[in-house]
Amino acid sequence: MESPEQVFNKIVKDYSERLYWHVRRMVGSHQDADDLLQDIFLKIWTALPSFRGEAQLYTWVWRIATNETLNWLRKEKVRAMLRFASADELAAQKVEADPYFNGTDAEREVAKAIARLPEKQRQVFIMRWWDELSYEEISAITGTSVGALKASYHIAQEKVKLNLSDSQVSK
């Protein structure tokens, strides 16, 4: 039987890179993603004894990561609000200032348009579009019905297009 450390190390090996990309796209900067990933894996380690195998390990790990990310974004939103700033704009500014962004101007605009989505829509959009998870997988992770996820993805897609056309108009 594997020790908790062995199970944890296997989770790190199997999931750290994929979760990094998910978190990075959600929070918009490398530094924030790195910090948040530490918190997520600390949470996974402390919650490991409560994992009973009722859910798949894959679903359980992703659920912790997505919940922690939403919680982090919520705190960012409160911090921004208490400074009378817009969290959506701050997220877009992070994309703009990201030194590890090496795409074209058009790709930067798409990333900023995604960063301006409300966090839950952003989460569904990123999980489907970038992480290429199926609706069934997203449903198991988030506890949201497949129908609601499809609707959320569709609305997010329309908002991204709208955000993109708005940014073109304002130029």
Partner: protein, 121 residues
């Protein structure tokens, strides 16, 4: 919309990340079932603190007849977001107190917005 990953990471980042993450078990106490009860213990401790404060106030303000005024409930309500505006106005809470309280709470952002800036609505 076309899809190509336009973001990158510092060189050797993922190898370094894996090593750093694998140090977490050694840096923290071994996970135990106690962790699962930690939130409940914190909740129980908060209630105990409220009870002690309430008891203290009741002792200080004891009156001859029972007014039906429940100070413990009053304090609990004061810690509720709906009481934040009054506490803020009475300067019993600093901006930092409120910020920390809100960050640690599970209150929705919309509710916080309406509570703190209700005059704007």
């Amino acid at each position: 919309m076309t899809k190509r990953n336009p973001i990158s990471v510092p060189e050797g980042y993922f190898q370094n990340l894996e090593q750093r993450l694998q140090q977490i078990p050694a840096q923290t106490a071994a996970p135990s079932r106690v962790h699962r009860f930690a939130p409940y213990l914190a909740y129980a401790a908060s209630l105990a603190v409220l009870a002690v404060i309430g008891n203290f106030i009741l002792g200080k303000t004891a009156v001859q007849e029972d007014t039906g005024w429940d100070y413990v409930s009053y304090l609990a309500q004061s810690l509720d977001p709906d009481g934040l505006v009054e506490l803020k106005e009475a300067e019993e809470l600093s901006e930092d107190d409120i910020r920390n309280y809100l960050l640690a709470s599970n209150i929705s952002v919309e509710q916080i917005n309406m509570t703190l800036y209700e005059e704007d609505y």
